[in-house]
Amino acid sequence: MEEQPEVVKIEQKFPSWRDMLKPVTEKDFKHGFYHYPILKRDAEYLKDYIPFGTRDWDPLDKDWKLPEDWKERFLNAFKDKLEKYRPFKLYMDICVRCGACADKCHYYLGTGDPKNMPVARAELLRSIYRRYFTKSGRIFKEWAGARELTEDVVKELYYYLYQCSLCRRCSAFCPYGIDTAEIVWRGREILNSIGVTHRFTPISIAACARTGNHLGLLPGGMAGALQSAAEDIAEITGVEIEVPINKKGAEVLFVAPSGDYFATPHWFGFMGYIMFFHEIGLDYTWSTYAGEGGNFGTFQSYELAKLLNQKIYHEAERLGVKWIIGGECGHMWRDKHQFMATMNYPLPSTLEDPVNPITGTYFENAAESKMVHIAEFVADVIKHKKVKLDKSRNDHWKVTFHDSCNPARAMGLFEEPRYVIQSCCNYFYEMPEHTIREKTYCCGSGGGNLTEEVMDLRMRGGMPRALALKEVVKKHGVNFMCTICAQDKAAFPILMEYWKLPVEIGAMMELVGNALIMKDEEQERTLDLRGNPLKRGEE
């Protein structure tokens, strides 16, 4: 990556409130910040959810060829969302513009663009709300912070609503809990109604709707991936594992994000799952129909989210499993914890209480939705000493943990992964306090931004996390950042290169896989799952 500048300039601007109401249009769109438009192929496939997507347009065009009655459609969609979503309506009304959220957004910190302040992002829609849905806005217009809905405003919305990663960091600091992610989600739905959608997520959504996973892997490909993982495991540990797939009558269905099947460094965590389940003798199965835990629909609309997550319960019912374990993924767990059960209520009656067959623990906190996080499951098994772990096999790693936004701020999953990680390695260090747990910074690539064309935005958005990491690199020599999110694993390696940090990214289950002493292992292991030589006990 030679072409990157040595110094990243962050220019802060403080325009007047009037200038803030003026839309940023295609003339000012910057490369590396705006998204490409939806592909015709995907628009055709998703036309029930995203109409008008098949026209010819580009965000840099002057004319976006919006449908004739776009304004009416836009306002109708707006009204519809106000009626259907109390949070949206409420958050349109009650923001006091105190600015507590302003500098909490990693995109604002990284870009200095005033419209990337969460409050300003919400104001983009709020100004329209005032103009068309409140009396004061109708009467006092600009003086009440209201503005006309024009094509330019639509362009601006497109530009900035897709510069949010739905991380909800702003919401943790807002005195009323105003959730910009909620506002952005509704905003994207409204834009969808007039065919203004970006390219990246619909590709995966269409693929997932067709094949069951975002990457468009076919059943044979998934089986093949499991097989290669089993082969890699055999090579390193000498243990040959049979991996169950589409198996009816298994006790547990396991669902991982599809990135785990192919990408690196996800792969080593993928091996970790297989090793761990084998070692404890869990009666489980992978599935090809519900082979995707992630849900890019949650970045677009309620309906699209449901389109993808309904498969999981359908498959659980078809296979006759008792309950479900979900793998390491961030937005997936926003969906699985907060959305999936509500969207698919009532759940199949074939499901039973989530009781860990190995330890007998009843996962009380998943009593109704029947879906347990892998970190909860593994922590429980480790606590009951049902597996043997050799921490020193991770001695070549000095580990830190990145809390992924959604498990942190939508689930409260902090201690489980830490417990697992600390049981598996000797060297563990926390990053600075204001960058972890509920205050964690996004990787910069979430919420539908994990795409090449917005690389500049992503690298800048990742800055706060990179600097926090640099701190522990300097202090403790950290060389491994563990994360439980598939998008993190895809995004961080690039970020490390950009910010010049000598840190490897990896899964929690990779550390588990390394430390796990398997019963049928005959020889001492000499390599870690990546094929690196082990360095026991060395400082």
Binding site: Q12, F14, W17, M20, L82, E83, K84, Y85, R86, P87, F88, K89, L90, D93, I94, G99, A102, P114, V119, A120, K135, A144, A172, P175, Y176, G177, I178, D179, P219, G220, Q227, A230, I241, E242, V243, N246, K247, T288, Y289, Y302, L307, R318, H337, Q338, A341, T342, Y345, F363, N365, E368, R409, A410, M411, L413, F414, E416, H434, E438, A468, E471
Partner: protein, 316 residues
């Protein structure tokens, strides 16, 4: 004659009517919108395996039960819990962060002063004056050296408002996001509080008369109110009219945050999503690919998996 009736009777009545109707209308508007999803923002460890203990912060920042949620709301409303987290990130080489909790401090100073001033005002609205009102007032007043006694919250509120306004005027980010309406409420509140203090310390008005006027207004004794209204000095009408403007403006403005904070789903819902499934009243049907369709599409590959006994083996 006309002046007293307009400023002392008509305007306050109209303002109060607008206030009450407006606030109810707004709240009903919110209540009529559905809450499709349970979306608490979790700021602490979730309720989980028994050996992972949650401390007291976790329980209130990431509530699991109804009571913990009530606790969270209590701390939000009375102590601005979320604002108390306010730390800022700076590009300092040492990854230090700066405490930005002065916003919390100013906010608390303003709101508590407001509350205390309102409690103090009960002496005009109620006969007899409630005991806690006069007790509080006595407790918070500086007597002795100054004549007349200084009511501290009444002065503090002016200072706090001035500081809050200064933020909006002098800080870049805050200036950028401040709309005219944001300045307007602060100016209005400053005008109200300053005129109130002026009345208290410099331009004395006939307090007995004021009280009688307000009591008449509140018992709808309009004729008597009109006649008393004329006997009271003009400073009161400045104060009263400003308050009327505030009341009438309240339901249409961001001041509705005071009611809205109770409705915010990221705060007032427990994080028990997987224990008690939330019901969406308008849950739409969405048609995805069924397993049968999926099977038709990838028959060969699925059959192959079946032939292999629903498992894959490493080939070594």
């Amino acid at each position: 004659m006309i002046g007293g009736a307009v400023f002392g009777v008509v305007i306050p009545y109209v303002a109060i009517a607008v206030f009450i109707v407006g606030v109810i209308y707004k709240i009903i508007g919110w209540a009529n919108s559905a809450v499709p999803l349970k979306i608490p923002t979790t700021c602490g460890q979730q309720y989980t395996l028994p050996f992972l203990r949650r401390n007291i912060y976790d329980r209130f920042d990431c509530p699991q039960t109804m009571w913990e949620t009530v606790g969270r709301m209590f701390f939000e409303i009375f102590f601005f819990r979320s604002l108390f987290r306010n730390t800022r990130f700076y590009y300092a080489p040492q990854m230090k962060y700066k405490d930005a909790r002065w916003l919390w401090l100013f906010g608390i100073a303003f709101h508590y002063s407001l509350l205390l001033v309102l409690i103090d005002h009960l002496r005009f609205f109620m006969n007899p004056v409630p005991w806690f009102s006069s007790k509080l007032t006595d407790g918070l007043s500086l007597t002795g050296v100054f004549v007349p006694t200084l009511y501290l919250p009444g002065l503090l509120i002016v200072v706090a408002l001035a500081l809050l306004w200064a933020r909006r005027l002098f800080f870049g980010k805050e200036r950028t996001i401040s709309l005219p309406s944001d300045h307007f409420v602060l100016i209005l509140l400053l005008a109200i509080t300053i005129s109130g203090n002026l009345m208290r310390y410099f331009y004395k008005v006939d307090l007995e008369g004021v009280k009688e006027l307000i009591l008449c207004l509140s018992t709808f004794n309009v004729a008597r109110a009109v006649s008393i209204a004329d006997t009271i000095g003009p400073v009161l009408y400045i104060h009263l009219t400003l308050v009327s403007i505030l009341l009438a403006y309240f339901p249409f403005s961001k001041l509705m945050h005071s009611a809205g904070v109770f409705f915010s789903p990221t705060r007032n819902m427990p994080n028990d999503n997987r224990v008690h499934i939330h019901i969406n009243p308008w849950n739409p049907e969405v048609k995805g690919i069924t397993y049968e369709q999926y099977y038709e599409m990838y028959k060969d590959q699925l059959d192959e998996i079946a032939e292999n006994g629903y498992k894959v083996k490493p080939e070594v």
